[in-house]
Symmetry: D2
């Protein structure tokens, strides 16, 4: 149960992914809706599921590269409540040698819950804990591609 990647061979590079999720009690605030900071955790879950679908882990044990976030932004359109089921759609909106920008849409059925964007930067970690921007390893870059219009969910 520790194989971190999907077992099937991965042929085509990946450009989008959809995660189905249910709201948990500890994610609510006292207004009975999901706390705004939690949306960024939902987005991260969908991102990492997309990496697994590409045959990758974003943080394998002992890795010398990491992917900290340099920007995160979210527009909140509708609340999520206890036990709601919803979808997190992530697609690769842009990719450079050192950075990837994801675009997100969260939906509960027909309701658009949030639209968002997160940019990650590839860094190389030094033994002293410092981090320096570095090229995305080709073994990773080759597995992803920018989403075309087909990657955009239809409203």
């Amino acid at each position: 149960m520790r194989s971190r990647v999907d077992p099937e061979a991965v042929v085509e590079p990946v450009s989008s992914h959809t995660l189905r999720r249910r709201v948990q009690f500890y994610e609510l605030d006292s207004a009975g809706i999901v706390h705004f900071s939690t949306y960024f955790r939902y987005m991260e879950e969908a991102e990492h599921a997309m990496w697994r679908a590409a045959g990758l882990s974003i943080a394998p044990l002992g890795s010398e590269v990491g992917f900290p976030r340099v920007n995160a932004t979210c527009d909140y359109h509708a609340p999520l409540r206890f036990e709601d089921e919803f979808d997190v759609h992530v697609r690769i909106a842009a990719m450079t040698g050192k950075a990837i920008r994801y675009a997100y849409e969260l939906r509960r059925g027909d309701v658009r819950v949030a639209t968002a964007s997160v940019t990650i930067l590839c860094v190389r970690k030094a033994p002293d804990g410092s981090m320096k921007a570095a090229p995305i390893p080709s073994s990773i870059a080759a597995r992803f591609t920018v989403a075309g219009d087909a990657g955009v969910p239809q409203a």
Copy 2:
């Protein structure tokens, strides 16, 4: 997508449930293992999934009763790491007129990760926010029963 209960008719009372879960990145601490407080959130997820399997929501909108925790205890046997898949087994270990005690076992394949216990108390909420112990409504109590030996996972 807002029906909070499983649609099929529920005939037999429920005494245990198993939730399959994957470790998310934001649940790790800086040692690369799941933070000890997060185990209690995993247990809550399994508990609420058991309530749904019993045709119930533990916190429907506007409910006059609630189920705060009066005791929680966990023994940690093995760590969980990024993207590990594991099972949370919950069973009803004891039930009185006002309280339910759950027993938990977390497993990653053959590895016993944690054993735990949580006791909840039924309370009636007053408009001023105060809470007072109250009998578990019969519509809820009728859906659950204490687990026999069959509810204990075999090591």
Copy 3:
């Protein structure tokens, strides 16, 4: 210990606030730096401290109005590590009849850690849990004012 407001009389409307905070262990991710979603929680802490400094609570028990977030955005400039002490500076960047936009800067000594913006909307809560945009009550609006240049921390 339940008085939710600062005891001294509040005369001048408030336009900014600075919160000193220390990084806690459970806020780190497995890279040993604060998780990006946690920055939004730091910002919320500073915001609510500013409300208290204005003699207000943003969520008094039984309140009929609430302030959900409609946008949140953050640029991450430098990491925060275990036990780092840092400052969260919040100022009111814009205010309309129904919304407030906060601008944030997080600093660890001379290091600019993050710059951010969060917009909140005043809503009136219906008994069925739905929320509708509503004017900010005058008792609240009168306590705040948009920050001038004096509210901008000097780099």
Copy 4:
């Protein structure tokens, strides 16, 4: 601002500590009270503050030892609500060559909110991520001592 220890010389070993804390909005659940899992985070904050008071950091960068939890238990006596101020009192209840057991009491003024216990184990970390029980380094053990009756808060 990165000095992780209190600057004054530490002479006497430490056996207890009290942390004053305020409830934050993101720590509440939809019942308007602090989520039960969060109490363990409060306890961790008080524990690490006690380590700092002893001139130590529990997780300095690059440390070869760590202190995972092997047991955590909490009895919940009274709820905590938004913006409540409360105290977390931690004392060393027992100490062996490889483990420390803390006893906790949380109070809001005269109200006893929770009593709890957490046991930590000293481990040595291998490069492959595995952990093995190990003696508490003497530089750490020398800074702590089991609390006598003086360490017990008076009700």
